[in-house]
């Protein structure tokens, strides 16, 4: 597998400018002759499809939801970063670049990250022009807040619904291009395979989720903007429909999959309430600005009413371990520490599988200090949401929180032109691996989605098409196209046949798979645990393929079949995640291998240990996995990462 990053060299400030100038362009009159396939219509896909259509390309877009307005970008709450420095507090493109590379624990490509920081400023302009109702100051200028531990206020927001408002902006932009006939939109239509002819991506196979019809859609380039794979854990903050199938099927067709083990856990989610739980709900981590996190010091207090536990019997573990940052420690550290105290039997809330997984997030002090009214004004909507879900009043009883899977930094490997290892297959947004390294900073997901969609895809797609030209001689009758359709039809039929006799539901299998991955490849990983998971997953997968229960047929609306096809892919991805985590014998960002952590130093106050220890000598690279066929071990390739501008250094808090 050839992994050329194609990242420009020279001064980093002018790399993107120079690269853009060096790119080929398609003559305006010729653009309409090219057809671009866009899979996924969230921030990256929606903005990308609309921008490509505005340039004149013929676009066909696909989403599994009933409308592009519902993509899961919509659920992001906190905000979007941009290096505008409107606050005059010392922000700059370089600082955002620096924070992102460092936050990603030096596992992202410098050139890509710099470009992301550069175009971040254009995103805000574009979104304001589209009518996104960003928060404003009384003078009418844009408001900012500090977010996720950043030292500057660079986060733009629209109440607690920034993702929704940005998505609706991109969606309205897309709607305009659908209306003028430049984008053909296919809703409730899921990509189930990629068509590759002569080494070039030429189209996709889809299954219509209402009629069950399997068909091919051909084009000159294929873009995947299909989001992350957090639902491999079964319980995550992703929407129920989020899945890995588009990128996984592309991977099986030859696209390298980079750093699958880099998955992010969000520290402030509402804990699981019972076995029926279908997803986990995130609450903005801004809550950590005023809430104090604690657990009882004594196990016997864990089931007591928290108000009866004396101050001296409360363990404010983040404040004690990290006095400088306290409850505002970065996501990964805060998450892991919550896991450790619960593992030690100090967790609170309902006991599930023998462990109480929850810690208190207590606002009593904030209410005493600032009054309930002030707390209500800041967090009212989050408190209401918490009460709706748990039935408990967080003004009176401390909230219970626990970490949950939230975002996946890993994804299909792409070069600087967002092209995967398959020519003509581009990957944007969370679906690619490129910008966040081993850990994503808060308010950077929306930024990356829109950067790719509005400001990078329009250039790199043109560059590819100008060079590759029109895809000739490939139509529905081409043997590769027919074979791809037949392959999907057979796969559907196999599930239908097995499903008649199967005994366990798809969700039942998915829950079991999710528990294995969460336990062994979640917040903390060990060689032993990962090996155990690697042994268990294929056995369970085998059982799934023999014993899953699915009713009905393939050529109709069949939700159990849809889920089964997605879970089938999660099995293979899950196994690869564990292998990637095993081979990456270091800790970096969200990938925490217990074997590689700092040790407590009793002579240094506050040195409790438990932080990541990277191994830059051996692992300053992206691990890119190459599919070798079903049942065969994948090959691990590497793209070395060099740091010319930001000195490799340990993250210290």
């Amino acid at each position: 597998m050839k992994l050329e990053s194609k990242a420009p060299d020279g001064p980093i400030e002018t790399r993107w400018e120079r690269h853009k100038f060096g790119m080929q362009v398609v003559n305006p009159a010729n653009k309409r002759k090219f057809k671009v396939i866009m899979v996924g219509t969230g921030l990256a896909g929606g903005a990308g499809a609309a921008s490509l259509a505005d340039l004149g390309y013929d676009v066909e877009a696909f989403c599994y939801q009933d409308s592009p307005r519902r993509a899961h970008s919509i659920a992001a709450q906190g905000g979007i970063n941009a290096a505008k420095n409107y606050q005059g507090d010392g922000d700059s493109i370089y600082r955002l670049f620096y924070d992102t590379v460092k936050g990603g624990d030096f596992r992202a490509r410098e050139s890509n990250v710099y470009r992301l920081a550069q175009v971040s400023v254009d995103i805000i302009d574009q979104c304001a022009a589209l009518g996104v109702p960003f928060a404003r100051e009384y003078g009418g200028l844009l408001a900012n807040r500090s977010f996720g531990g950043a030292q500057v206020s660079r986060t733009f927001y629209a109440r607690g619904q920034t993702g929704q408002q940005l998505l609706l902006g991109a969606y309205s932009h897309l709607a305009r291009t659908i209306a003028n006939g430049k984008v053909k939109m296919h809703e409730r239509c899921e990509m189930v395979d990629l068509i590759v002819v002569d080494g070039r991506a030429r189209g996709i196979v889809t299954r219509d989720l209402v009629t069950g019809k399997v068909e091919a859609h051909l084009g000159d380039a294929v873009i995947l903007a299909t989001g992350g794979y957090g639902n491999v854990f079964y319980l995550s903050t992703n929407a129920k429909g989020c899945n890995t199938s588009a990128i996984w099927r592309a991977h099986r067709r030859g696209a390298g999959f980079a750093n699958p083990c880099f998955t992010q856990i969000h520290p402030t989610c509402i804990p699981q309430g019972g076995d029926y739980q279908s997803k986990l709900t995130l609450m903005s981590e801004s809550l950590r600005n005023d809430g104090r996190i604690w657990v009882p010091r004594k196990k016997e207090d864990c089931t007591k009413d928290p108000s009866t536990i004396a101050e001296k019997d409360r363990y404010y573990y983040l404040e004690e371990k990290y006095p400088k940052f306290g409850n505002l420690m970065p996501r990964d550290v805060a998450s892991r520490q919550a896991k450790f105290v619960c593992d030690d039997g100090l967790g609170v809330g309902p006991e599930i599988a023998g462990v109480r997984r929850g810690v208190y997030l207590d606002f009593a002090d904030a209410i005493k200090r600032d009054s309930e009214a002030v707390v209500r004004e800041k967090y009212g909507n989050l408190f209401d949401m918490y009460e709706r879900i748990t039935g408990e009043n967080p003004y009176k009883v401390p909230m219970r929180i626990y970490p949950a899977t939230h975002y996946t930094m890993g994804g299909l490997w792409v070069d600087y032109n967002l092209q995967s290892t398959i020519p003509g297959l581009l990957v944007a947004g969370e679906a690619n691996f490129s910008d966040h390294g081993a850990n994503r900073l808060g308010a950077s997901a929306l930024m990356q989605g829109l950067a790719d969609g509005f400001f990078i895809l329009p250039y790199v797609v043109g560059h590819y098409l100008a060079d590759a030209g029109k895809s000739k001689g490939v139509d529905e009758s081409h043997p590769e196209v027919k074979a791809a359709i037949k392959g999907v039809q057979e796969r559907v039929q196999t599930f239908i046949d097995v499903g008649q006799k199967g005994k366990r539901t798809v969700d039942d299998f998915h829950r079991e798979l999710g528990a294995i991955i969460w336990n062994h490849c979640g917040m903390a990983r060990t060689e032993k645990g990962l090996k155990e998971a690697i042994a268990k997953i294929p056995t369970l997968h085998e059982e799934f393929r023999k014993d899953v229960k699915i009713l009905g047929g393939g050529e109709e609306l069949n939700r159990e079949l849809e889920k089964a096809m997605r879970v089938d892919d999660f099995f293979e991805l899950g196994a690869l995640m564990c292998r990637d985590a095993l081979e990456r014998d270091e800790s970096a960002g969200c990938h925490f291998r217990e074997e590689h952590q700092t040790k407590a130093d009793p002579s240094v106050p506050g040195s409790y240990g438990g932080e990541c220890v990277r191994n830059d000598e051996q692992f300053a690279h992206a691990a890119v996995w190459e599919w070798n066929g079903a049942g065969k071990p994948e090959t691990r390739n590497t793209e070395p990462l060099t740091y010319e501008f930001i000195k490799l250094a340990a993250r210290k808090y």
């Binding site: 903005a47 609309a50 921008s51 505005d54 939801q65 009933d66 409308s67 592009p68 519902r70 899961h72 919509i74 409107y86 254009d122 302009d125 574009q126 304001a128 022009a129 589209l130 009518g131 109702p133 960003f134 928060a135 404003r136 100051e137 009384y138 003078g139 009418g140 844009l142 629209a158 109440r159 993702g163 929704q164 408002q165 309205s172 709607a175 209306a179 003028n180 006939g181 939109m185 929407a239 129920k240 429909g241 309430g273 019972g274 029926y276 739980q277 279908s278 709900t281 949401m385 709706r388 748990t390 039935g391 400001f455 969700d507 039942d508 229960k549 009713l551 609306l557 939700r559 159990e560």
Partner: protein
């Protein structure tokens, strides 16, 4: 409160838009439901039991399950999204119901929302209304600096109130006329109050209202049931504002042409 409840559950089953449809009794599958589960998780549990019993599971739309994507929504005992105010079906929890309670669960009912299957309906009409004019034309790369056009805070807040609409369709289900006026007016209002939205303000309201009618939604006759059903509490004041904009635009602008709505 007890931790689990048994329900007398009746669910609307309809195998496609042409099928007559009927209520089925699933009380046997709706026993021992945790009161901490959400309404959709209750349907998940029922569905898993149905599948294991070899029966066709109930189809309902859902995705984010945190009240923001707008995919979910069913009518529970006559109320869109059920009994809890300002709450989508996915955020409604079973502790709002009592042991032995009888529940009738139905899809949104409107001519413009044909049933796909069971509780899932086709809300494509909403997308087509937005396509008719619910946007500001601004190509990527052409925007001025975001601070070049100040937006006074009260106006930005006002726009945000309207923009909070999740497009679920509960307003239509609640309305005796099956009108989507609240939905249309929220979009018209959100873009219409912002300075960026002024260039297309007249054509937007004309085209969107025309498309609303074309899709077969009814007119507004001020029942205000839409506002009470709206999980995001969008105010009916937006309908009044839309009507004012519409009146103004209809006397100052030519009626929408067939080809309109695209290039501004």
């Amino acid at each position: 409160m007890s931790e689990s409840i048994d329900l007398k559950l009746h669910v609307w089953r309809q195998n496609g838009p042409k099928d007559q449809g009927r209520f089925e009794d699933y009380s046997a599958y709706a026993k021992n439901i945790s009161t901490h589960a959400s309404f959709l998780e209750c349907l998940d549990v029922v569905n898993e039991r149905l599948v294991l019993a070899g029966k066709d599971p109930i189809v309902f739309d859902h995705d984010c399950r945190e009240g923001i994507c707008g995919a979910c929504g069913v009518v529970i005992n006559g109320e869109p999204h059920g009994p809890q105010k300002a709450t989508t079906t996915c955020q409604l929890h079973m502790r709002k119901f009592t042991n032995g309670q009888e529940l009738y669960v139905e899809p949104w009912r409107a001519t413009a929302f044909p049933v796909i299957k069971d509780l899932a309906v086709d809300r494509g009409a909403f997308d087509r209304i937005v396509q008719a004019g619910g946007f500001i034309t601004a190509r990527a790369g052409s925007a001025p600096d975001a601070n070049d056009i100040p937006v006074p805070k009260p106006i930005a807040d006002d726009a945000m109130d309207a923009a909070a609409c999740i497009g679920c369709g509960a307003c239509v289900a609640a309305c005796p006329n099956a009108s989507a006026s609240l939905f249309v007016s929220a979009k018209v209002g959100h873009l219409g109050v912002l300075p960026q939205g002024q260039a297309e303000r007249d054509s937007r309201v004309l085209h969107m209202v025309a498309q609303h009618e074309h899709e077969g939604f009814g007119g507004c006759s001020n029942h205000y049931l839409c506002e009470s059903a709206c999980p995001k509490e969008i105010s009916v004041k937006w309908i009044a504002r839309m009507n004012r904009d519409l009146l103004k635009a209809s006397v100052t602008h030519a009626p929408p042409t067939k080809s309109g709505g695209g290039d501004g």
